[in-house]
Symmetry: C2
């Protein structure tokens, strides 16, 4: 397993050129392109014009051409994009080819909901275990994942070296668990604990704080706007 | 209740001027300001300079002044922002004063996790009921909410007139349930069903599709970037 991962790392090094060409603004839009292209593949559609993609995604066609140009000479008149190639290239930039593995810390309702989702495997990420502190669920299996005692976190991470931790513990526990994860070598934390997590002491750790409440406010604003 | 709501609507009409002054780009940033200001209030902090807010939010101070200028003559040298006033004004724009009420359709793990969250009440939204089709949980109470039979959706909405529906049903059921909600007069759908929901037949309905997988890709990209 370790060898396989190293090979992936080497391969990534080689496409550093492609990544360097993609601007940060475009990168933020890539997950959505990746998702739509994945849908097309599942529907058996292998070519699509920028006009069709534009209609489907509700983004104007010139924006699409501009965003996707750096991935190669695609989208010529009358040819359209090669969906599979583009999906693969965008995935490489986003890291779906890196073989990242994830643990979910917190086996409550949200942890279980995330564990049951297909989004990890669809994006090349393998879920390998859940952790909790509740003796009533430790040792059980949730969505094919073993629920381990959170006291085993360090030993598990030393052995399995997961890159990603999904954090669904209560707010109060989030900081301590995060420091333990960082010390144990985890590279990224997807934080659902509903608090702004910052660990400046670990500059190599990438933290993504999810704020569903912000999304709820966008909904509320959208409703309010249409009521005028 | 109905009267109270109408009063809110009228009040909203009067502050149309403020809303009109806020550009769409700034609106997208408002939920985050609202969240930070709410945190400050909970900590008992009633004044903050743009420099302090800048440090806390990791946004540059001139951006903050530019974003918040339209809310009135605040942020003068040596005075700082009036946290409570600003929090209230931003909330008004976002719709927290509108007394919106929400139902959660789907009482699985994700529905339960959302039902248990404080984010609704913190943003002025009242959760009033959950719906499910599973006889084993219909009639139970989850986070103080009754779980009702989804067959009662239309009758309930006709009576209680919730503006918001949180959709956590399986992908396959999402479209049908959404049409029923739209027909029943719901104004906004917060869609967690992991599919792109579009109901062009209901132009007054605001749909916000949540794609956690896109967020996972941002995490993956962030980790990958720091590994170089």
């Amino acid at each position: 397993m370790a060898n396989q991962k190293n090979e992936n790392r080497n391969k990534n090094g080689e496409d550093g050129g492609l990544r360097a060409q993609v601007s940060p603004v475009v990168v933020r839009r890539l997950p959505r392109y990746h998702r739509y292209l994945g849908e097309l593949l599942r529907e058996g559609i292998y070519r699509i014009s920028s006009a069709e993609l534009s209609k489907m995604m509700e983004v104007n066609a010139s924006q699409i051409r501009q965003d996707l140009n750096c991935f190669g000479g695609f989208g010529q008149q009358g040819y359209g994009y090669n969906v599979k190639f583009l999906y693969g290239k965008i995935g490489e930039v986003l890291g779906t080819e890196d073989g990242f593995r994830a643990v979910i810390v917190g086996a409550g309702n949200l942890g279980r909901a995330l564990a049951a989702s297909h989004m990890f495997e669809r994006r090349g990420i393998e879920r390998i275990a859940m952790f909790d502190s509740n003796p009533a669920i430790i040792g059980k299996t949730v969505s094919d994942l073993p629920v381990l005692d959170v006291s085993e976190l360090e030993a598990f991470c030393a052995r399995e070296k997961p890159e990603i931790a999904v954090l669904t513990v209560p707010k109060e526990a989030a900081y301590d668990v995060s420091v333990r994860l960082a010390e144990a070598g985890v590279r990224g934390i997807w934080n659902f604990a509903n608090m702004e997590l910052k660990l400046d002491e670990y500059p190599d750790l990438y933290i993504l704080n999810v704020h569903l409440g912000d999304s709820l406010m966008v909904l509320s604003y959208g409703i309010r706007s249409r009521m005028k």
